[in-house]
Symmetry: C2
Subunit: 279 residues, 2 copies
């Protein structure tokens, strides 16, 4: 946490905004949360600025009035339904860029969002720079370790996700016995794992062979200040329900949310969690 | 149908083997079907050779005894469970190559299967070379036509499937409003469409905007003698259930099974079917 300055957390759902707020406060840094209309923010005890995306100028004014110099985006946010009647001038000025980016992949949209905040004078930080412990160091995070076939499946999955990244889709894939059983799309990791759970019967050539892995990593060149890939307890439950052997992560570049609970769930289900620094 | 010689159809499920058999017979060509254990073959009225993959030498002998010089693979086949106790010498000789290929994508396996038949002296033909009417000529196959946004979604989907092909996965994708909602994996097109039907609620940024397209095309460089991409009435039903606007095909390189029923189903559901020669 090298940067000083009051921090505003643009908060999505889940536990991450609260974790970052707590870590920033523990480091002696003033912090506030920004809750967008339609998003439920779980971070009791911190000041909250209510915001609407349509009123971007009002949000910038509120942030400056509160002394905010730095922002971080944290937690899952759905693409919102916008009320055109509510657009303020600041929103209208950036709307053409946002609308153009909305037609493309996720990265394009989020790059525009970062640019808009930077042009307004804010410094945009990355969650894992604020709280390095949110990611995993290289190695096996569980007592269960991958076998030879699991390592081969992980290599194949990494090849696929790297290839998909060039297309600006996906931060995840499921591979079993060399076969791709799932590719992450905008519906997210949990939806992909449910798909695998429902469809993989018979798709693995050898019913007694390798059960497969979930691999999560950023797209090549992805700006980790937004939409950093993440796993959490729900990911572990989904991977177990899909009959997988384990989860493979890019060390230092994938958020492990609620780390104690996540790893305990993996141990309980007999899944390995493996952070690799070579993918 | 330039080639003479008796034709054996290595028959998978569905209507395609029967269609090819009827077309070959109508062209004056002798034809037999090969039914592998575990596969239900729908092609009444044609001679059938029963076969087991484990007894590959026996199959080659039966084909030669029947005067077969040419083979074509047609219809969906699942990766079979093999009985090691039943392997004959011919199977054992090719088993190492088959097993190695089984660890990779579909293309690798099917390329080995073609090579094995060619090395045994058979000529392997492509379904659409035998029956050109199985594919579609360029243009709109339905009265319903794609709009501007549908064309953009089709372009994006083609870019994705071409990129996936380099990774040896997928012959299909679903894109709506520029976002990828589904990537075809080994579970096939119908499973992907069910996934989209179940998960796409809220994934389209504009609920009143473009509904999206299913795109089907071969992988770049794919050998069309095996595993040629296909659509049929079930594909249309799946695309309609997924709320899509239409289906886009590579003209001449995607099988349109039960063409009359398929296109009638698309018209009834208000879906367009568009065969493109520029993808």
């Amino acid at each position: 946490m090298a940067e000083a300055g009051k921090l505003a957390i643009l908060a999505g759902g889940g536990a991450l905004p609260g974790q970052i707020a707590a870590a920033a406060e523990a480091a002696g840094r003033p912090v506030t949360l920004v809750a967008f209309a339609g998003t439920t923010v779980e971070a009791a005890g911190f000041p909250v600025i209510a915001a609407r995306i349509e009123k971007l100028g009002a949000l910038f004014a509120d942030l400056r009035a509160a002394g905010v110099t730095h922002v971080v985006m944290a937690g899952g946010m759905r693409r919102p339904a916008l009320d055109p009647a509510g657009f303020d001038d600041t929103f209208l000025a950036v709307a053409p860029r946002l609308m153009a980016a909305l037609q493309g992949g996720d990265d394009g949209l989020l790059r525009v969002v970062i640019a808009v905040f930077e042009e307004a004078g804010f410094t945009v930080e990355a969650p894992h720079d604020l709280v390095p412990a949110l990611t995993a160091a290289p190695g096996f995070l569980t007592a269960t370790a991958p076998g030879h076939a699991d390592r081969a499946d992980a290599d194949r999955a990494a090849e696929i996700v790297q290839g998909l990244g060039a297309l600006d889709i996906g931060q995840g894939a499921v591979v079993a016995q060399g076969l791709c059983l799932g590719v992450e799309t905008v519906q997210g990791t949990d939806a992909m794992l449910r798909f695998v759970a429902e469809t993989a019967r018979g798709a693995r050539p050898n019913p007694d062979g390798a059960r497969g892995v979930l691999l999560k990593m950023p797209k090549p060149g992805q700006d980790l200040r937004v939409d950093m890939p993440a796993i959490g307890p729900e990911t572990v439950r989904g991977a177990a329900a899909a009959g997988l052997a384990g989860i493979v992560l890019a060390a230092g570049r994938v958020l492990v949310l609620e780390q104690d609970e996540t790893l305990a769930a993996a141990e309980a289900a007999g899944l390995f969690v493996w952070a690799r620094d070579d993918i």
